[in-house]
Amino acid sequence: MSEPTYKAGKQPHANEYRLIFRNIDREGWDTSIDTYLNEGGYGELKKALGMEPGQVTNEVKASGLRGRGGAGFPTGVKWTFIPPNNTKPVYLICNADESEPGTFKDRYILHQDPHQLLEGLIIACFAVGAHLAYIYIREEFPEAAQIVEKAISEAKAKGFLGKDIQGSGFDLEVYVHRGAGAYICGEETGLIESLEGKRPYPRIKPPYFPAAMGLYMCPTIVNNVETLCHVKHIVKMGGEEYAKLGTPRNTGTRILCVSGDVRKPGYFEVEVGKITMGQLINDMCGGLKEGRKIKAVIPGGSSAKVLRGDEKYTIGKGDDAKELSLLEIPMDFDTLMACGSMAGSGGVIVIDDSRSISWVLNNINNFYAHESCGQCTPCREGSLWMKKISDRIVAGTASPEDVDTLDSVARNIDGRTICAFGEACSWPTESFVAKFRDELTADTKADLSGTLLNPESKLAAAHLKSQQEAQKTEAKPVAV
């Protein structure tokens, strides 16, 4: 294996640790299996096939790998949720429905390194005993679907898929399933419904935990693209060695996608928790634009709670407690959670002082109102209501009370829905109101309190008024 060289202008930053993205933007790299094999590709698969499936799972557990799709749940633990007395077929689904605004890491893996994903996926299937796997690719990635399809046929031709893989006796078929064009298809039970050919209405949990009752009511493991890629590297390094990457409980590397008001937005693979928000924004992304100050950062995809630029965050308890500024926050799961947000899907959205907070919130609310599946009441009705209120805040037709209503609607959604979309759509509003109430209120008008807003009610009120006036003028004494 040669040390990779990268295309001009695409060289990784010195702070990066390229594990998953080793081959992204590489000079002379293509998606063919030969290129992959030249670099020792599928070597880890061969290694894994020589192990016991349970041993692979144990390595993944030991690695401390946490899911890279958004929830950050320990991957190895998830794999052990398949009921031990199960007699049904087990399925594995790769969630390639990358849809969270601000997140654009999986697409590069799909487009430029499909065999890495396949290798990780085949190892994972071997570990959990799945003989059928699906790669659910979002509808908006048509090219990725073709690339992955081609990779699957290449892998099959070389005996890495199909019957008796590499003489191990292990069989596996993988199919690409094109997504249905909705954000909610990325929610794992919504995805399963969609894969079954139905509307992607998320299922209630309990009882429908995928590991027990997933695809076709069979045990199903759903893992993110990046997560499955990590499995390959865990097998290569061994779980314990892998766990030395990153920080304790926040192991390995992860890809951060930076967008918004920085000079050089992009993707950066870093050891989890080893770099701070400040290093990411100022060193790796070239800092803010000329003369701008940082106003806020949404650290884990658009559904993560916003962090204020000038806020102090207290981390730890008692004697260990320390105060951090936004730029001092290390980018790991636990610290971001302690700061009141989340690492989520790794989409870091930077907002500078040129942005109107009302506009930013409205933009997010627009997205979630458009993507709410409409199955359960709070999210269906609340997401559009929040959008309509923030529409008016932006338009200057809201009153200060509307900000309170906005917050209260979000709290009537949060924690009361079937799936995590409820939190995804309400957390932005809750956090923006909590942290930028002044700015939102400044965009409202106090003299609009209690006035009629929509054309229908204005019309109805005008009609009532004219009737009342007509009655007054017509009113005459009535003879008894």
Binding site: A182, R199, Y201, I204, P206, P207, A369, H370, E371, S372, C373, G374, Q375, C376, T377, P378, R380, E381, G382, S383, L384, W385, K388, I389, R392, D402, T405, S408, V409, N412, G415, R416, T417, I418, L452, L453, N454, P455, E456
Partner: protein, 583 residues
């Protein structure tokens, strides 16, 4: 019945032991079988949890979120840690800040449920407000008003106001989705009960949702319509006014309807019903739950088959034929005329055709008439049809079992009828009494020419029909909604009809007509009330021994074994056993 903490269920050979779990509901401890849904546990102890999407006969998608309640579990113990228990053996409850849906979750050991806490109330306020922001609030012109869950729960669990200041979402209205049903998408709260019913019960999954979020609409699949014979059940289970019945919409405000528990007489199933009537007119029939007969459903055909009660053909007074012309008469004169005509014949010359659509009480009186006349020819009109895989029975008569039992008919009923037809045709039979049967229908199979040769033809019926046209005396009887009485369905269950309206015009309850006719022919019989009829029936027919009309109850009693099963109930039991539905 609320399961008391002391209530011990002893397992028997048939019912395997279901372990009981201790559950605290609003501070009180109870025991429930493991697997009980939280919502059902609460209901059993008198703590109703409001809900829209949950229906015990359907799967639970948990989508309306109205049944969210505060829930708690015992604290998670460290390895080796002994649980802390109070004097009654209960552990403390750790309340969970995230509310849980009561419809799909089952109770667990040491679970706590709060149906009236601040969190629970807050959830209900929130969901109610959200459900109404885009709802048209057109209650004054909505057929569901008065029996609308949105109205009911607004009163009980709403805040009485709304903070919504935006424009509502516009959706399709007055959508024709099938021959009997209309859809108002703006009223729909997307509970999916109708979608699940058509899929899970009626095997006709033509309904679904399109669009997303607040713009979601219920629709029928392109090229299809909601036309199956069980479609109107979706109107019943729609908790709001989204689905309305073409037959009933705009006919009557529901709060004016008097509800009478009865049964459907459209086939031998005897689906339990509620008849909705006002001032002598029936406006609708809806199914009434009976888990031994029809679950919670009925077919559209049976449900809508009541309009003949106000048909133009309805007979309003007794008729007597003089010189070939029917004239309105009085009851005493008409009865006398019929008695005289029949008394002129010996028993071997008289045939009585009895309907298996009559109640047991009417059949008993018919039997009395047959005995009084000494009539040697007795037949019923069998109606065999196609059964379906749900509720419709092959027997289209509602009381064939009663007719066999009370009239003592055995063997092939068609052969019995054929023998009467032949007797009339060859002139051996000179007088015919037909009770609630038109003899000139294809099922009865008589022809006008042979009936014309009769010396006496007495017709008791509720409609003017070709046989009545030929009759010397026409006695107007009552329809199914106009009488009390009992019938035996195809599975052998004895069930009760109740009187929703008075008989039309001067027409009388059939048993009273028969009583008067018997009296005119053979003298007093001491029967004044329908209870008297039933008493004599119970004394005379072995199977009825010890029963009274009131003992039958609203849900009926099993009377005889017929070996028939109900396909829909069999499927329902399978689903209950699999835990898919509560049942």
């Amino acid at each position: 019945m609320p399961p008391a903490a002391t209530d011990e269920k002893k397992p028997t050979a048939e019912t395997p032991a279901v372990p009981m779990v201790n559950v605290q509901i609003d501070g009180q401890w109870y025991q429930f079988p493991k697997g009980t849904r939280m919502i059902e546990a609460c209901r059993q102890v008198g703590k109703d949890v409001p809900h829209y999407c949950y229906h015990p006969k359907l799967t639970s998608p948990g989508n309306c979120r109205m049944c969210l309640v505060e829930m708690g579990m015992p604290p998670r113990l460290a390895p080796g840690q002994e649980p802390e228990k109070d004097g009654e053996g209960h552990q403390p409850i750790q309340w969970i800040p995230r509310p849980a849906i009561a419809c799909a979750n089952t109770v667990a050991e040491n679970m706590g449920i709060r149906t009236d806490s601040e969190l629970t109330r807050g959830c209900r306020h929130g969901v109610m407000e959200l459900l109404l922001i885009n709802h048209p609030l057109d209650c004054p012109i909505c057929d569901q008003a008065g029996e609308c869950r949105l109205q009911e729960f607004s009163v009980e669990h709403g805040t009485g106001g709304s903070r919504f200041r935006e424009q509502k979402v516009k959706k399709p209205k007055n959508v024709d989705i099938g021959p009997r049903i209309r859809l108002d998408d703006e009223r729909c709260i997307m509970c999916s009960r109708c979608v699940r019913f058509t899929d899970e019960i009626a095997d006709d999954p033509v309904l679904g949702f399109t669009e997303r979020g607040s713009h979601t609409v219920l629709a029928v699949h392109p090229g299809h319509e909601l036309a199956n014979n069980y479609s109107l059940n979706t109107v019943d289970i729609c908790p709001v006014g989204a689905l309305t019945s073409n037959d009933f919409r705009f006919q009557m405000r529901v709060w004016f309807l008097k509800e009478t528990k009865s049964i459907c007489t459209d086939c031998g199933r005897g689906c339990n019903t509620l008849i909705g009537s006002r001032e002598g007119r029936v406006y609708r029939q809806t199914p009434r739950e009976n888990n031994d007969v029809n679950s919670a459903w009925m077919c559209d055909h049976g449900r809508l088959n009541f309009h003949y009660l106000d048909s133009e053909l309805r007979l309003s007074a007794p008729l007597v034929k003089d010189e070939g012309v029917h004239k309105e008469s009085t009851w005493p004169k008409a009865i006398q005329r019929a008695a005289t005509a029949l008394k002129a014949h010996g028993g071997s010359e008289i045939a009585v055709v009895v309907s298996s659509r009559m109640t047991n009480e009417e059949l008993f009186m018919a039997k009395r008439l047959i005995d009084t006349l000494g009539a040697e020819h007795v037949a019923t009109v069998p109606r065999a049809g196609e059964p379906d895989a749900y509720l419709i029975a092959a027997d289209k008569n509602p009381n064939t079992q009663g007719a066999r039992l009370i009239l003592g008919l055995e063997g092939d009923l068609a052969a019995g009828l054929d023998s009467v037809r032949r007797g009339v045709a060859d002139g051996r039979i000179k007088a015919v009494v037909t009770l609630q049967e038109d003899l000139l229908t294809p099922e009865a199979g008589f022809d006008a020419q042979t009936l014309d040769g009769l010396e006496a033809l007495v017709v008791l019926h509720l409609l003017a029909n070709p046989t009545a046209q030929m009759a010397s005396v026409v006695l107007p009887g009552a329809g199914f909604a106009e009488k009390r009485g009992s019938m035996i369905n195809v599975t052998g269950r004895l069930q009760r009809l109740n009187k929703a309206t008075e008989p039309f015009g001067q027409s009388l309850d059939d048993w009273e007509i028969l009583r008067d006719l018997i009296q005119a022919i053979g003298g007093g019989n001491g029967i004044y009330l329908i209870e008297d009829v039933f008493k004599q029936l119970a004394a005379g027919v072995e199977e009825f021994e010890g029963l009274t009309l009131s003992k039958i109850g609203d849900l009926g009693v099993p009377l005889i074994e017929t070996g028939e099963t109900v396909p829909l109930l069999e499927r329902e039991r399978e689903r209950i056993a699999k835990g898919q539905i509560v049942g």
